[in-house]
Subunit: 319 residues, 2 copies
């Protein structure tokens, strides 16, 4: 069917968020796309400001992403990393040469006084990205995870320790004094459709929704809100989402996602998109008061990403 | 002949300074080597602190230098430079990936509060360099050149515009309030032999000797001071030294170097080493009151570098 929806705002983490965003970007002129990206994963390393989720979305939208690893740039080289290692710099967070250039340019521009929003716009525009790519805030927010070894920095937990620790609590340092940018609020208010990408509920979605003003703005907005479950077959498509849900008292399933979202952000989500392999959970999700859309949600290649985006667009238009 | 000289302090710019320093380093345990390096060429680019002369000396002593270009690292890759170009960052000062890692590490450490001396020691030590590598000062000094287009930053003149401008004056911004480090003063006071490398008299040697206290320390020191002429056959071995001498009223020749050094720093230099091809200038140099050593001064490979260093060591010991 033909739909007249056009302004789509995606809330995104890295891996699943980037692929979902690309699906909408591949719809071309039919969609005016804004992607609001988690920055709770950001870190400083070698004196550089690194925004892994923003970069994954940016590289993916620019067609530069390494689809095999799910992070970084394809056709990457590693000369600088080798030299940094010789200097005794920390090497657990591997930076390819092209990727390093992104952090160097970002850091230089931040230091010259540009906001992260301005820097991101400049970099994305230089890479020919038509979508509007927005950090969830220009303020510094850092996700921390409580484990048996105490509170860990996000990338320490995620990359250095390979997200193997049992997590008992999560906090977003800086979130209470953070504000969303005017661009973020506008993208929510003006949207015809808000899509919560299949990103980690605790590590990607929650930080965005916890920036004071964003949830209120979403609740007040006219847009339909569709979420895509990051859990397929009781496991995360990637990363520690399932393990975190279980640790933090939720059920790692599509229905568990529905309950977690409904409980945490009542009334926010209109429809949950779940994978066909989880079809038997549709009734339980309906019981939570959510609409359900059962389809193929795995976004391996561009074809699947575009098709899922098209389906969500039609779903929202048809409602 | 056998000499008991051992503590050698070389004053160095980039190209000729690095090769001269390596010559002494190749003498091994016979020499305790300190290299005091010009930092007037330093610049900030992409928010990074770049010290080209320190890096050329460091890469050369570490065996990493690109001998074909005379700057940068061999087996270099250029991925980051390509990405920086895509972002619209300035590209006239080309940074290879390995070289970029040096600037990233240096900048991070400077920002964390280390002095340039400390940073340089850390990087050089990590690369296995036994010699002591010292910036001429930890203070910010920037060489500027007056041309028909006004005062230019050093690298703007040297790299961006290919040192083609006629230079009418040179100044070293920040020099009057700069101080030499304790390490520099100690290396001069303790030296048995001070060698002024065949570096540019205005752009490498003069900045070092203009740091308040360095010339006084050299004049008070017990060491013999030997300079190697950077002019061979009335041309610079590399770079704009001959052209600058002519522009600034000196004669571009080995004898011109003798007169320039004697006039600018009276009594500083005991012996000038000149190339065999300039042997007919020996008498004119003697007339300036300087000792003369005529030999092969071109330091193409490690064999030539080591031989010249050995010869200078014997010369100083024999006197």
């Amino acid at each position: 069917m033909v739909t007249d929806l056009s302004r789509v705002t995606v809330l995104a983490g890295g891996f699943g968020g980037a692929r979902m965003a690309q699906g909408f970007a591949l719809l071309g002129d039919a969609v005016e796309l804004t992607v609001i990206v988690n920055t709770g994963d950001d870190l400083e390393l070698h004196g550089l400001s690194i925004s892994p989720d923003l970069d994954t979305v940016m590289y993916t939208l620019a067609g530069l992403a390494n689809d095999e690893t799910g992070w970084g740039v394809r056709d990457e080289t590693w000369s600088a990393a080798g030299q940094l290692e010789r200097y005794g710099e920390p090497t657990w967070f591997r930076l390819g040469d092209r990727d390093l250039a992104t952090h160097v340019a970002r850091t230089a521009r931040l230091r010259s006084g540009e906001s992260l929003t301005q820097v991101t716009r400049g970099l994305a525009s230089a890479l020919g990205i038509a979508a509007s790519l927005l950090p969830m805030s220009d303020d510094r927010i850092r996700t921390k995870l409580q484990t048996q070894d105490g509170w860990l920095d996000f990338q320490d937990y995620f990359v250095r320790r390979g997200h193997r620790d049992e997590v008992s609590d999560i906090r977003y340092d800086g979130i209470h004094s953070a504000t969303p940018t005017a661009g973020v609020l506008h993208a929510i208010q003006a949207a015809d459709l808000v899509v919560i990408a299949p990103s980690n509920p605790y590590l990607s979605v929650a930080p965005i929704l916890s920036v004071p003003g964003i949830l209120e703005s979403l609740n007040a907005a006219k847009a339909r809100t569709v979420a895509v479950s990051p859990i397929v077959g009781r496991e995360a498509v990637r990363g520690p989402a399932a393990q975190l849900m279980r640790s933090l008292g939720a059920e790692a399933s599509a229905a568990g996602i529905a309950r977690h979202y409904s409980k945490t952000w009542p009334g926010l989500i209109d429809t949950l998109v779940i994978d066909a392999s989880d079809g038997e959970e549709a009734a339980a999700i309906s019981a939570e008061g959510l609409g359900v859309c059962v389809t193929q949600t795995l976004m391996t290649g561009q074809t699947e990403r575009r098709r899922l985006a098209q389906e969500i667009l039609e779903l929202a238009g048809a409602h």
